[in-house]
Symmetry: C2
Subunit: 252 residues, 2 copies
């Protein structure tokens, strides 16, 4: 058995989830904490690679002894969150843990992931939202929000999402299945939520930019189908900044 | 006429609202922004003096030309928030502004102020709550929350709050009128809210500590009256850390 841990982090000060030659990564901090707790080096496998500045409400990762497929420890799973968090900086924490089979894979066994993208929609920025949302000064009306939701609905289902993938990426298939996609307002924040069986590189940030263009009247909900069908990145909206993006949920 | 501005700030990196010989204050940053916007030195009078690390959702202050009781400018009030915010660091912003009479005083004319105190109540801390709440790992049950609310109710009305004032402070009267006082849960956060015609030094942080002691079963709601009557600081709860405190609203 190995441990499956749930982690939340504020990604602002990190070069992303994955260990990089330059910059401090979330994974590196988890490695250091795991070594401190278990007394040996570990292999930590994450559910995805979040970019620099992207946050996580519930990132998942497995912890096994380095080079092995299990985690030999007497520490009960329910103690792991506090034990590991004690060795993590304030902007990363482990908040849940459980045991999984040796063969479990944190990335390949993902059935569905959910991301949210936060827009802060007020004329003046907020000190409390710095690095936690994209600031959209011009008011988005309720009608515009409804239009964004009509656009979101058109993204649901199985589509080729090539138009919403960063140029230069290479994957075998650009077809993904979106199981949920909607936009809601919470006070001054507009939250775009999307669940899918997988995401292309920058897909959520490009979709956020596309829906924002709809909310700002630059695109209409009815344009979405033809953008999707075009497979043409240049027809979709711009890539929104990393700071508004949160990995919200992972389902195995 | 002078300007009455509404400000929000994350107080973490400041020595408090008021200019201090050592440390950077909110007021200093406002002074710098006002000079940049209006082209002359200004007198900025705040509605209160928040301590180091305390935040504000809606702090109020007046802006007048230095040594005068008015603000000679052609900038319309509705432009002031963006104009001043442009010269403020990311953790401070002006989000509203209006004109008030020369004789208006930002501190003496306050009719009522509202503070909130945020407790983060989950076993493991949250990266998103660092410096924004007090972390209370042990769960506070709904019954305990109700008991906290019974205690809050006993604080409403006109009382001598000497028991809830930092020792060593000197004021003419320790009598204040609390117009609203309650505790509610929002997800993992417990929010204590209190409105009054005035507050003694550290009063909200000491009341927060006293209500927390009730929530943790160290005190009962029925103890509140005798603590208040005692005027004895040592009978009340501990002073909670500044990072959970927010000036939430000011009424003139």
């Amino acid at each position: 058995m190995k441990a499956l841990i749930k982690i939340s982090y504020l990604g602002t000060d990190y070069c992303g989830y994955q260990v990089q030659p330059n910059g401090v990564s979330i994974q590196q901090k988890l490695n250091e904490a795991a070594r401190a707790v278990f007394g040996f080096d570990c292999d930590i496998v994450g559910c995805s690679r979040t970019d620099s500045g992207v946050h996580a409400n519930a990132f998942c990762a497995t912890v096994a002894k380095k080079g092995q497929s299990n985690l030999p420890t007497a520490i009960p799973a329910e103690r792991l969150p506090l034990a590991m968090s004690a060795y993590l900086p304030q902007d990363i924490c482990v908040f849940a843990a459980d045991w999984v089979e040796d063969g479990f894979h944190a990335r390949y066994d993902v059935k569905e992931k959910e991301y949210i993208y936060r827009f802060y929609n007020r004329t003046v920025r907020s000190p409390f939202e710095e690095n936690r949302s994209a600031h959209i000064p011009k008011p988005i009306s309720d009608d515009a929000l409804q239009e964004m939701n009509r656009a979101s609905a058109k993204l649901c289902g199985t589509h080729d999402f090539a138009a919403y993938m960063a140029q230069g990426s290479s994957v075998k298939s650009t077809v993904r299945t979106v199981t949920r996609c909607d936009v809601r307002r919470e006070g001054d924040v507009i939250i775009f939520r999307i669940s899918a069986n997988g995401f292309l590189y920058n897909m959520v940030r490009i979709l956020a930019g596309t829906l924002l263009a709809v909310g700002q009247g630059k695109l209409r909900a009815d344009d979405i189908d033809k953008i999707t069908e075009s497979r043409d990145r240049t027809l979709a909206g711009s890539t929104m900044p990393a700071c508004g993006l949160y990995l919200n949920r992972v389902i195995y």
